[in-house]
């Protein structure tokens, strides 16, 4: 009998709590409407999956953006105030238009960090274009997003597309590692499949024999796949996907007795990869990334510690890119002379040149990064260490 009362009691309590939380939320997060003495408050929204299976990635990204905003506010050299707003699109193109429209409809929103996923970006971007609202994604890597037929005039990205990374990785594999038999495994995600496709076609061009396979992200059980690869005689495995799966995969490969090289992408270039794989399985793994070494500059190492302090966890995949994206937006806002409007920010972004912690952010006219250098990293003694730009490594 009494169990029903748990629920019966929960109803008023929950309703009360929702109301309280709602009030609290609007007073802190939605305070953008008021003009404070320091100047107008603008909102930078971050759109990505904040719930559901892909929430980890969305939260990594939005936390990165939030950190940038908080730091900019704290610095106190702005003529305006910034607010952060997380917008959940569940990474799903179905939900993305509503999320996008909620940002467009909020007149305080001055620019967007995101959307996180390519599908969601594709579904959202037309709304941003129409509203002349800049969106700077830190993670949507689908090359065709900047296809001229889309007419996405307010789209920018602080991450290289799959094509440059796939080509770079393939070159390195063929020319430096001289692998002859490569197993290319993707995680079935749009990102993984896209990258794998680029990699595979470039490897085939270089006459490397490639076996393709796909293990859906979230499988976690890689023992089977690993045994298959171990007995295939491949001398290199390239995994296109994220660290959450790359970790267990590398672990299983070692367990299955695979002796070749494990190589993966920027989605795997994350300290958690080493943790999840275990340091012995991760040791020697090569990681490609269109991002320069964050440890190399003071700003980057500050980011790592600040992030940890703010969110109680290590910065994850794309956190740094999102941090850069948000800071690029802020830099653009600073560069605006006169009133800061959405279109002014778009214009400013087109000519921005900002030194981020992952790269020099400078956009081509279609919103792609100007420089598409791909860098190589290697896991040494349990940490991911920087080897250098791939084209130099090949050349030298």
């Amino acid at each position: 009998m009494d169990t029903k009362h748990v629920v019966r009691a929960a109803v008023p309590l929950a309703v009360g709590a929702v109301l309280l939380a709602g009030c609290g939320g609007s007073s802190s997060g939605g305070g953008g409407g008021t003009t404070s003495s320091g100047g107008k408050t603008f909102t930078i929204a971050c759109q990505g999956p904040l719930t559901g299976d892909n929430a980890a990635l969305g939260i990594n990204i939005c936390d990165g953006a939030k950190l940038a905003i908080d730091q900019a506010n704290a610095k106190g050299d702005l003529s305006f105030k910034l607010a952060y707003k997380g917008v959940d699109d569940q990474g799903d193109p179905t939900k993305a238009p509503a999320a996008a429209q909620s940002e467009v409809g909020d007149s305080n929103v001055i620019a967007i960090v995101g959307p996180a996923f390519s599908g969601a970006t594709q579904a959202s971007e037309q709304y941003f274009t129409e509203a002349n609202l800049a969106s700077v994604t830190a993670s949507a890597t689908l090359p065709t997003l900047t296809d001229p037929s889309n007419h996405f005039t307010t789209f920018f990205r602080t991450v290289a597309t799959d094509s440059s990374q796939g080509a770079g990785a393939a070159d390195y594999i063929a020319k430096v590692l001289k692998a002859t038999k490569v197993y290319s495994v993707n995680d079935g995600s749009a990102y993984g499949q896209g990258l794998a496709k680029e990699l595979e076609s470039n490897l085939t061009k270089d006459n490397v024999s490639v076996t393709k396979d796909s293990v859906p992200a979230g499988t976690k059980q890689y023992a089977t796949e690993a045994s298959k690869i171990a007995s295939s005689g491949a001398d290199l495995v390239y995994y296109s996907g994220y660290y959450a799966d790359a970790g267990p995969f590398a672990k299983s490969l070692k367990a299955a007795g695979f002796k070749g090289t494990f190589m993966s992408d920027d989605g795997t270039k994350d300290p958690n990869f080493v943790k999840l794989a275990g340091s012995s399985a991760a040791e020697g793994a090569l990681l490609t990334c269109p991002c320069s070494d964050p440890q190399s500059s003071q700003a980057a190492s500050n980011f790592v510690t600040d992030y940890k302090a703010a969110f109680n966890q290590d910065a994850g995949t794309y956190s740094a890119e999102a941090f850069d994206a948000a800071n690029t937006i802020i830099a653009a806002m600073k560069a605006v002379s006169g009133t800061i409007t959405r279109s002014a920010v778009v214009t400013a972004l087109k000519s921005i040149d900002y030194q981020g912690i992952t790269k020099q952010v400078k956009f081509q006219s279609n919103g792609e990064l100007s420089s598409t250098t791909v860098y190589l990293y290697k896991v040494k003694n349990g940490t991911i260490s920087y080897l250098g730009p791939i084209d130099q490594l090949i050349g030298g």
Binding site: L13, G22, V87, D88, T94, Q122, Q193, S214
Partner: protein
């Protein structure tokens, strides 16, 4: 022989029902404290628990639970006094509802509201209305035929939605494999409906002989297979990257040239039109020979067969009709959003549509439409009121609460409400899935 130990147990003060309920209220308070409290993270995953449960923060929630307990226990009688009043009002309105004139007028008014109201809302809510509410309402109405009318548990329903959406992509020339001709998405509608219908029959024919739960898992499997196909056959479906730039609806007839572009309102009206038509057709169907045959099958398959109802044929029919509605929704969706990815067709969505149907009141077309609208609207409303990460926690809570207090749904069909009443009175078989779990137990 024995003194009644049950009686003895009851006599102890801490076993008193009222006292035991304190525990329930305190538990509820703690749960709410946890839900509204801060979250944790990978490095500090006990953070949320520590600050949610062990910190002084939890005290007001426990006190709140006790206050609610006291209010209910002491002031509960007042609530009971209100109850008869509520029931009279409700039953009175229900009685009036049965008058056809009242119903016609109310439906007319609702339609007017559905047409006029969206003209005065923000573009955000229009997007929600066109992209989500309209699509899910259509899906729910279709699944209602399968589960509400014929009593078949289908957990792979979203597969037909996918088939409709990918058919749109195919016939508008957006897939790597090309159709012999390209069409305006409008003209894809009949093709997609046909394709979904055929796949419904193909799936249903071998599986509809299976009993309730087995049917559920086989349909679930079908949904997963369609999903994996969409995701892995890159050469056919483009894989996870998805299909982009699916054209919008357009009309080019004589002098009329109209393009449905980005704005949501025109799409909303198209969807509304389809919804109204489908609701009208299905309500006719419900009160036809076919609908009665479905009810007969749902209530007693053996008796239905003995009365000459070709059970397999009617089940297939329900499956096919449900599937084709889903296919139609797929076309609307693909054309409106313009891009589809396999991740929009996972098992979770099949389950979600099922939840919408039951929540609204399965069997009742108006009920499922309402349920779908409410449950789709709610997370969007919560978007602005709670931490986005918490939205679906409340969503889950709401579903449990609803099932406990109103298992028949928001607006159940009269037939369905009766079935549930019988089941609650201890008569068997509230739906085709058999009797209540653990039924026959009154202890």
């Amino acid at each position: 022989m024995t003194t009644l130990s049950a009686v003895a147990r009851r006599a102890r003060w801490w076993n008193h029902a009222r006292v035991r309920r304190i525990g329930a209220y305190v538990f509820a308070g703690i749960v709410v404290a946890l839900v509204t409290g801060p979250g944790g993270s990978e490095g500090h995953y006990s953070n949320g628990l520590r600050h949610g449960l062990l910190a002084p923060r939890v005290i007001p929630f426990i006190v709140g639970g006790l206050v609610v307990w006291a209010a209910v226990e002491l002031g509960g009688r007042q609530l009971y006094r209100v109850r008869p009043l509520v029931t009279t009002v409700v039953s009175g309105s229900q009685r009036r509802w049965q008058s056809p004139v009242v119903r016609l007028v109310s439906y007319g008014l609702l339609l007017v509201v559905a047409i006029v109201y969206p003209m005065h809302i923000s573009e955000f809510w229009r997007v929600v209305a066109a992209n989500e509410i309209a699509i899910y309402v259509l899906l729910a109405i279709g699944l209602n035929v399968v589960i509400g009318f014929a009593g078949l548990l289908d957990l792979g329903y979203i597969a037909f939605f996918a088939i409709g959406a990918y058919a749109t992509a195919y016939f508008t020339g957006r897939l790597p494999i090309h159709a012999p001709f390209t069409l305006n998405p409008f003209l894809v509608i009949p093709l997609a409906i046909g394709l979904a219908l055929i796949s419904g029959v193909i799936l249903g024919f071998p599986t509809l002989r299976l009993r309730g739960d087995y049917l559920a898992i086989v349909t679930l499997g079908f949904g997963e297979i369609v999903y994996e196909f969409a995701k892995n056959q890159q050469g056919i479906t483009t894989g996870s990257a998805g299909v982009f730039n699916i054209p919008h609806f357009s009309i080019h007839l004589l002098d009329i040239n109209y393009d449905w572009g980005l704005p949501s309102l025109p799409y909303y009206y198209v969807s509304l039109g389809f919804i109204v038509v489908v609701m009208f057709l299905f309500s006719r169907l419900e009160n036809s020979r076919v609908g009665r045959a479905w009810t007969a099958i749902r209530e007693d398959e053996v008796a239905a067969a003995a009365t000459g109802v070709a059970t397999l044929k009617y089940k297939l029919m329900a499956f096919a009709i449900g599937a084709s509605t889903s296919g139609l929704a797929g076309v609307l969706f693909a054309s409106k959003v313009g891009s589809i990815t396999p991740d929009a067709f996972t098992l979770q969505y099949s389950i979600l549509v099922l939840v919408l149907v039951i929540f609204g009141g399965m069997g009742s077309i108006a009920g499922v439409a309402l349920g779908a609208a409410v449950l789709t609207w709610l997370p969007e409303l919560l978007r602005t009121h709670v931490n986005p990460q918490n939205r679906f926690i409340y969503f889950g809570m709401l579903i449990i609460i609803m099932m406990i207090f109103r298992p028949q749904g928001l607006l159940p069909s009269r037939r369905r409400a009766r079935e549930i009443r019988f089941a609650e009175a201890g008569l068997e078989g509230a739906d085709a899935l058999g009797p209540t779990p653990g039924s026959g137990l009154t202890s």
